[in-house]
Amino acid sequence: MSESPVFLPIRRLAELVRARAVSPIALAETFLDRLEKIGPQYNAVVTVTRERAMAQAKRAEQEIAAGRSRGPLHGIPYGAKDLLATSGGIPTTWGAAPLREQRFDDDATVIRKLEEAGAVLCAKLAMVELAGGMGYRQPHASFTGPGINPWRLDAWSGGSSSGSGSAVSAGLIPFAIGSETWGSILSPAGYCGISGLRPSYGRVSRHGAMALCWTLDKLGPLALTAEDCGLVLEAIAGADPDDPSTSNREWRYDAREVTGRRFAFGVIKGVTVGCEEAVGANFERSLETLRSIGSVEEVELPDLPWEAVTRTILQVEAASAFEDFIAAGTIAQLTAHEDHHSAYARDAILAKDYMKALRLRGVMAREVDRVLSRFDALVGPGRANVSPGLDQEFRSAIRGSAPDLMGAIGNGAGLPAICVPNGFGDRGLPTSLQFMGRVYEENTVLAAARAWQSLTDWHLQHPPGSLATRPS
C-alpha cells in the first residue's frame, strides 16, 4: 500500500481493507506503534491493548479473506476512553489514581458492539479523573498527566475525553469513543481540531461505562470527519436491556449525498457573548459560508437560568454517584488539588432546589424543541475559546465561570450536537463550530456538518509534524 493510513477517513480505510489493499494486521501494527511511540508525548494513552488488538486484527483478516464483511469498521483500529469496562485483565482506571488497578470481568456494551462490527481495540485512552465530576479547574487532573494538545504542546487537549481528542488529532488512531456529561466530547474535539458527535441521550448504551450523572451521561465518537462519526454511531447505537435509558428507536446512518441540500439554521441571540475575539470572528465567517447552503436566522430563547438547571442536576447526581468515594475521603488521592475537596460543597444543595431544577428541565426540553422544530440545527461556536495553556486555570460553565448556553441546554435536554473545526485562533490553536439538533436527529446534524466539511478544508488540516512516527 503506497497511501499512508494515517489521517485517512474511515470510509477510505474501509475501502482499502475490503479490497485487501491493506491488511487489518498491518493497520493495527501501524496504529499500535504510533500509540506506543507518540502517545506518551500527548499523555493520550493509559493502556495500549496490543494483545487484544492483534487477536481482533487477525480475526478480521481471516474473515475478510474468507469474503465475510462486518461493515465499514471491520479491521479498523480505535481507542476507548478509559471509563469503558474491558474484560481480559485490561485496567479501566476512570483516570483516577486510586483506581489505577481497577479491572472488570465484562466488556461495556459499546466495546462489545464495536467488536461485533469488527473494529480493533488498540488502546484505553486517557481522561480527566472521574470524567471531571469532582470539579477540576485546570488540566493537571489525571494520573496520566495533563492531556496535551497536538497543535501546541503547551496547550491542553480539552476534557474530559482528553486522550480521545488528542489521539485522533495526532493520527494515533482513526477514531475514538468518548463520553459527555457536559462538554466532554465537544471540548476535546473543538480544542484538538477534529469532529466529535454527542448523540441524543439514550441513543447509545452506557452499560459498563462509569456513571457520573445518570440523566446526563452520553457516549459518542470522536473522529476526523462528520461522516466518520456517523459510521461509528451506527455501530454503537441501539437499545440495550442493560441500560434502561436507551431508546428503542432504531438508528441507521444516512450516508446520502448532501450536495444541493438546503438547511435552515438558527443562531441563539448572544451566543458569541463571552467568546474570544477570534472565535467570534471565525463564527461570523462560518455563518457566511452556511448561508450558501441554507438560511440563517437569529432566535431568542426565554430568559431562564438554563445553566443553573443543568449544573445543579450535574452536581447532585455526581455527588450521589461518588457518595462513598467522597464520604471516605478517597478524593484526597486524586491528582488535581481542587478535586481533593470541591465536591464537599455539594452537600449544600437543597432537595427543594434540585427538584426545581428537574422541573425546569421539562420547561427547557419543551422550549428548545419548540424553537428547534423550525430549524435543522442551531449553530454556535463549539467552544468559547481556544485551548487554555497547560498551567492555566480555565473558565468552566460547569462551575459557572464561563458561558455555555448551548452546552447547558443541549446536555440538559439530551440533544445531539456535533463539533467540527472552523479555523484557528490565538496561539495558532483550532476554533470550532457546533450544530445542535432536535432529539434523535443525529442524521440532520451530521448532514449539516458534512455539508460544512464539503465546503471547507479545516478537517483536512493536521497538527504540524504529526505524520512523524517518533516525537521530534
Binding site: 443553573a308 460543597a345 449544600a348 444543595i349 432546589d353 427538584m355 426545581k356 425546569l360 421539562g362
Partner: protein, 72 residues
C-alpha cells in the same frame, strides 16, 4: 428576609457552609475550606436563580416517573 422572599444571600451561604464545615471541616485545611465556601456561594447563586422562576403546580420533574413491572 430579602425582598424576593428568599433568605439573605450571605446568611444562606453562611448557614449552608456551616453544615459542610461541620461534616468535613476536620479533614480540610483552612485554604481548602475557603475554596469550599466559594463552592457553596456558587451553589447558592444557582439555587437563587432557580427559585426566581415561577412554575405551575402541574410542572412535574423531567424525566417523569415511570413505574416498573418485572416479568411476567
Amino acid at each position: 428576609m430579602a425582598t424576593d422572599a428568599q433568605p439573605d444571600h450571605d446568611a444562606e451561604v453562611e448557614r449552608l457552609f456551616a453544615l459542610v464545615r461541620d461534616r468535613y471541616g476536620d479533614r480540610l485545611t483552612p485554604a481548602q475550606l475557603d475554596d469550599v465556601k466559594k463552592g457553596v456561594e456558587g451553589i447558592v447563586m444557582a439555587a437563587r436563580a432557580l427559585r426566581t422562576v415561577k412554575l405551575r403546580n402541574t410542572d412535574e420533574p423531567f424525566p417523569p416517573f415511570v413505574p416498573h413491572r418485572g416479568r411476567p
